[in-house]
C-alpha cells in the first residue's frame, strides 16, 4: 500500500487491512493530529500515518507512552484539531487517568481513541474488554466488524466527536484490525473548519466546582449520543420470527456466516449493533418486544447482555434473554462453531460435532524465538553465565520477553509495560534475593524510568539491564525517543539514555552485548555491588539496522572444526540459524546474520569467508 491511501479518490475500491482502513477513515473525517503508542493489534494504524506523514496534512508522533499520547492529543483537540489516538487495549490502562477526565473537559476539535482489544490473547497479557472503559469514561463507542466499517466508523466517530465536542472510542478486536477486505473510499476533505480556542476556565479546568458542572454537561452529551445511536446506520435489523439475536463486534460476522451456511437467514430476527454505547434503548426495546427468546452474541464480557437485561426489566418486556453460558463463553475469541451451537440451541436443535482430522499431540512446537543475530540472545546468555538460577529475573514487554523460553529462562515474572524495574525492586526488598530486571529502550522511556527513580530514591537492590536495540522492535521497529535513525533519516533530537540514567543518580555501564568477554566482565563487576545498578546492553536490532541502511554486511559463521564440539553452543544459544543435518551440527548460511557471537564461544566455529 503506497501513497494511494492518502491520495485515492472517492469511489475507488482498495483492498485494505482493517488498520489501514481506520487510517483512511480518519483522513476522510479530516484528522489533523495523530498520536499513539504502538501495540499489537493496533500498530498498523499509526505505522500507516507515519509512512504517509511527510507532506501530509496532519501532525504525527509515536508518543513516549499511551498516557502522554492521550494528553498530547487532548491538547490538540482543545486547540480545535480533529485528533486520533491509537493504542492496544492494555495501553488504555496507562492512559486511564487522563481518559476519565477527558470527557468532562471535552474535545472541541474532535478526538477518537482507538482501543484495539485482543480476545484470545494473540499477542497480549490479558483479554480485558475495553467497552467497559468507554462506559466508565463516558465515551460513545463504535465497534466495526469489517474492513469497510473500520473505514466508515473511523470517519463517523471523528465527525460525531467533533459535533458533540466529546471524545469517542473506536473499539476493535484483533480479528477486525487484521481483517483484509475491499473498501470503497469516500472523499478526503481538503480543509477543515477552524475551531479556535476561546479561554473559558470553568469549561476546561476541572476544579471540583467546575467538574461537577462538567459532569452534568457530559450526561447531556451522552443523551445526545444515545439519540445518535438510535438513528445510527450501523445498527440494523433483519429477519422474522420469535427467536432473535443481538450481536456486536466481530460476533456479527460469525452470526451472519452461520445463518447463511445453515440456510436460516430470514427465519430468525437479527439486530446487529455497530454503535451500541450509549445503548440505543428504544431501538432495542422495540426489537425485544417482537421476540420470545433473544440471544446476545458478544465476545468477552456480558456488557450488552447486562444492559439489555436491565432494559427489559425497566420497560417491563417479557422476553427470555440468553447470554453468556456454555456455548458463548466469557473468555476467548468466538468463531462459527460456538455461535452455530448457540443458534441451534435457541432453535431447539441438536448440534452435530464438527468432524476434523486429528494430528499427533506431540508435534514439535514452533515458539516465536529471538531472531538470528539478536543482541538480546547474547545479553541473556551472559547474564545466565554470571547469575544462573541464583537470581530472580523480572521481565517486561518487548521482543526480549521471548527470553522467557529455554535455554535462557530469563523471565520469572511480568506485570505490564514498564513494570520490570519497580516489580523487581519490590521483590528484591521483600525477598532479599538477587534480582535482575530486563527492560527495552522503548519500554524504559515508556514508563520504566519512573521505576528507576523509585529504585534510586529507596535504594532498592537490583541490577537493571536495559536491552537497548535502538528501536521498538516487537511492534514493527517504530522510533522511540532514543533512536538515532528512522526510515526517514537521522533523528535530530535523540534523548540521551545514559545521561538520563545519570540524572537519576546512577552511573550506568554501557557494553556491546555481542562482545562476550566485555559483557561478562561488566556483569561480574556489577553483581558484586549493592543498590540499584544499570547496565546498558547496546547494539542495534539487526532487522532495524538493515531497514535504515546501517547494517554492516558480515558473512555467515561456519562450522570449521568438529561439529560435535559445537553442540554446547547450540544448546546454550538456540539460534534459529543453527540446524542439524541428520546428526551433524551445521549453521544455515541463509539464516545466519553474521553476528559472530557463537564464534566467541567455540573454537570450532569460524567467521565465514566473503565469497567461498
Amino acid at each position: 500500500m503506497g501513497k494511494e491511501l492518502l491520495t485515492a479518490p472517492a469511489g475507488e475500491t482498495l483492498l485494505l487491512l482493517g488498520n489501514e482502513a481506520i487510517a483512511r477513515g480518519a483522513l476522510e473525517g479530516g484528522v489533523r493530529f495523530v498520536t499513539c503508542y504502538p501495540g499489537t493489534p493496533s500498530s498498523e494504524v499509526p505505522d500507516t500515518f507515519f509512512r504517509l506523514s511527510q507532506g501530509a496534512p496532519y501532525y504525527f508522533e509515536y508518543s513516549v507512552n499511551e498516557k502522554v499520547a492521550l494528553e498530547v492529543a487532548g491538547g490538540a483537540t482543545l486547540a480545535g484539531l480533529p485528533s486520533l489516538v491509537t493504542m492496544k487495549h492494555v495501553g488504555v490502562n496507562v492512559a486511564a487517568d487522563p481518559l476519565m477526565t477527558l470527557a468532562y473537559v471535552s474535545a472541541p476539535g474532535g478526538l477518537v481513541l482507538l482501543s484495539a482489544d485482543d480476545p484470545g490473547c494473540h499477542s497480549s497479557q490479558n483479554e480485558q474488554d475495553n467497552r467497559i472503559y468507554a462506559r466508565l469514561g463516558g465515551l460513545p463507542c463504535f465497534e466495526p466488524a469489517t474492513a469497510q466499517e473500520c473505514k466508515d466508523m473511523a470517519r463517523d466517530a471523528l465527525l460525531l466527536s467533533r459535533t458533540l465536542e466529546t471524545p469517542v472510542m473506536l473499539r476493535t478486536t484483533t480479528r477486525v484490525n487484521h481483517v483484509r477486505g475491499p473498501v470503497t473510499l469516500g472523499a478526503v476533505p481538503e480543509s477543515i473548519e477552524e475551531k479556535p480556542f476561546v479561554k473559558n476556565p470553568p469549561k476546561y479546568v476541572p476544579l471540583p466546582a467546575s467538574a461537577r458542572n462538567m459532569h452534568v454537561r457530559l450526561l447531556d452529551v451522552l443523551e445526545k449520543a444515545r439519540q445518535a445511536a438510535e438513528d445510527s446506520p450501523y445498527n440494523t435489523e433483519r429477519g422474522q420470527g420469535e427467536v432473535g439475536f443481538v450481536a456486536s463486534g466481530a460476533a456479527r460476522n460469525y452470526l451472519s456466516d452461520v445463518l447463511a451456511d445453515d440456510g436460516l437467514e430470514g427465519t430468525v430476527r437479527v439486530l446487529e449493533l455497530g454503535q451500541a454505547s450509549p445503548l440505543p434503548e428504544d431501538r432495542i426495546a422495540a426489537f425485544l418486544a417482537k421476540c420470545r427468546t433473544v440471544v446476545i452474541v458478544e465476545e468477552l464480557e456480558p456488557v450488552l447482555e447486562t444492559e439489555i437485561r436491565a432494559l427489559a426489566q425497566k420497560r417491563g418486556i417479557a422476553v427470555t434473554i440468553v447470554g453468556k453460558g456454555e456455548n458463548l463463553p466469557r473468555r476467548g475469541e468466538y468463531a462459527t462453531p460456538n455461535v452455530r451451537a448457540a443458534v441451534r440451541a435457541a432453535l431447539g436443535r441438536q448440534t452435530a460435532p464438527v468432524e476434523t482430522l486429528s494430528v499427533p499431540a506431540d508435534l514439535p512446537k514452533r515458539p516465536p524465538n529471538l531472531c538470528a543475530g539478536c543482541p538480546h540472545r547474547a545479553a541473556y546468555y551472559a547474564v545466565r553465565q554470571v547469575y544462573g538460577d541464583n537470581a530472580v529475573y523480572s521481565s517486561d514487554i518487548g521482543c526480549y520477553t521471548l527470553g522467557f523460553l529455554p535455554p535462557f529462562k530469563a523471565a520469572d515474572f511480568l506485570l505490564c509495560m514498564g513494570s520490570s524495574i519497580s516489580t523487581g525492586a519490590g521483590f528484591a526488598r521483600a525477598s532479599g534475593k538477587p534480582v535482575v530486571a530486563f527492560i527495552g529502550d522503548s519500554t524504559f522511556f515508556h514508563s520504566g524510568i519512573t521505576g528507576l527513580i523509585d529504585a534510586v530514591a529507596y535504594d532498592h537492590d537490583l541490577l537493571v539491564v536495559i536491552l537497548d536495540n535502538r528501536t521498538t522492535a516487537m511492534t514493527g521497529h517504530q522510533p522511540n525517543p532514543g533512536v538515532d535513525t528512522t526510515i526517514f533519516g537521522e533523528n535530530p533530537n535523540p534523548v540521551d539514555l545514559l545521561a538520563l540514567i545519570r540524572a537519576c543518580g546512577i552511573e550506568p555501564v554501557k557494553v556491546n552485548p555481542l562482545n562476550h568477554k566485555a559483557m561478562v566482565a561488566a556483569l561480574e563487576n556489577l553483581a558484586g555491588r549493592h543498590g540499584p545498578r544499570v547496565l546498558v546492553a547496546e547494539y542495534p536490532c539487526p532487522i532495524h539496522a538493515r531497514r535504515v541502511g546501517k547494517a554492516k554486511k558480515t558473512p555467515p559463521a561456519r562450522v570449521a572444526g568438529d561439529p560435535a564440539a559445537c553442540l554446547a553452543v547450540r544448546d546454550n544459544l538456540a539460534c534459529p540459524a543453527f540446524a542439524m543435518e541428520g546428526d551433524v551440527f551445521t549453521i544455515n548460511a541463509e539464516q545466519c546474520d553474521g553476528c559472530m557471537y557463537c564464534v566467541q564461544l567455540s573454537a570450532d566455529i569460524k567467521p565465514g569467508k566473503k565469497e567461498a
Binding site: H122, V354, V359, D362, P364, P368, C371, R570
Partner: protein
C-alpha cells in the same frame, strides 16, 4: 457462485502474508468478493504465521477447525499441524520441505516425515499435493520465492477459484518490476511440479 475457505500456514519470513494478499487481489480482480485475515505480532520472530482467505461472500475472516476447503501449507510441519482445519473432501497443497524449529535442532523433538502428512490426510482429503517449494524457488533464483512456487502448485491442481494465468497477471500487476520475472518462473515451476506429481 462457488464459496471457498482457504487456510494458509507457514513460518515467519516465508512470505505467507504476501501470498495471501496476492491471492486476495487476484480474487478481487476476478470479481469475487473477498475477506482475508491474518494474525500478526508474536507470529513474527520465526513463529507460526496463519492467514485466511474467504471467497464468495463470507463475512468472518476466521476459519474454524473442519471448515477449510483448501489448506496451503508453506512448511511441512505447519501443514501437518494445520490439518485439523480441513473439511472432509478438502484439498491440501503443501511444501514438502522443512524449516527446523528450535526444539528439533536441539534434539528435544522429532521432526515428522512427509509420510505423516500423507497418511493423516489420506481418505479424508480429496487431494494432497506436496512440492519441494524451497528447492524449486532456488531454481527460480531465490529461496524467498517458495511462496510463489506453492501458489503455482495450488493453481495447477485446481485448489484455487482462478487459474495460473490470473496469478501470473497479479504477479505482473502487484509485485515490484524487479522481481516479477523471478516470481513468474517460481509460479511455473510450482505448477509443473504439481502436474508431474498428479500424473505420477
Amino acid at each position: 457462485m462457488q464459496r471457498a475457505r482457504i487456510f494458509l500456514t507457514g513460518v515467519g519470513g516465508q512470505g505467507t502474508l504476501t501470498a495471501t494478499t496476492l491471492l486476495a487481489r487476484t480474487a478481487l480482480d476476478a470479481g469475487l468478493p473477498v475477506t482475508s485475515g491474518e494474525i500478526h505480532g508474536m507470529a513474527q520472530r520465526g513463529g507460526v504465521v496463519e492467514s485466511t482467505l474467504l471467497i464468495g461472500g463470507y463475512k468472518s475472516a476466521v476459519i474454524a477447525p473442519g471448515e477449510a476447503d483448501t489448506l496451503l501449507g508453506f512448511e511441512l510441519l505447519e501443514t501437518l499441524r494445520a490439518l485439523p482445519m480441513l473439511r472432509r473432501g478438502g484439498r491440501v497443497v503443501g511444501n514438502a520441505e522443512a524449516l527446523q524449529p528450535v526444539g528439533v535442532c536441539l534434539g528435544r523433538e522429532c521432526y515428522p516425515p512427509l509420510e505423516a502428512v500423507l497418511e493423516t490426510a489420506r481418505g479424508y482429503a480429496a487431494g494432497v499435493t506436496m512440492v519441494p517449494a524451497i528447492s524449486l524457488a532456488e531454481k527460480a533464483g531465490t529461496a524467498k520465492a517458495a511462496n510463489m512456487v506453492l501458489l503455482g502448485a495450488a493453481a495447477a491442481c485446481g485448489a484455487l477459484p482462478f487459474d495460473l494465468d490470473a496469478l501470473a497477471r497479479s504477479v505482473e500487476k502487484y509485485l515490484k518490476p524487479k522481481i516479477v520475472a523471478l516470481n513468474r518462473k517460481a509460479l511455473e515451476l510450482g505448477a509443473a511440479a504439481a502436474q508431474a506429481g498428479q500424473a505420477a
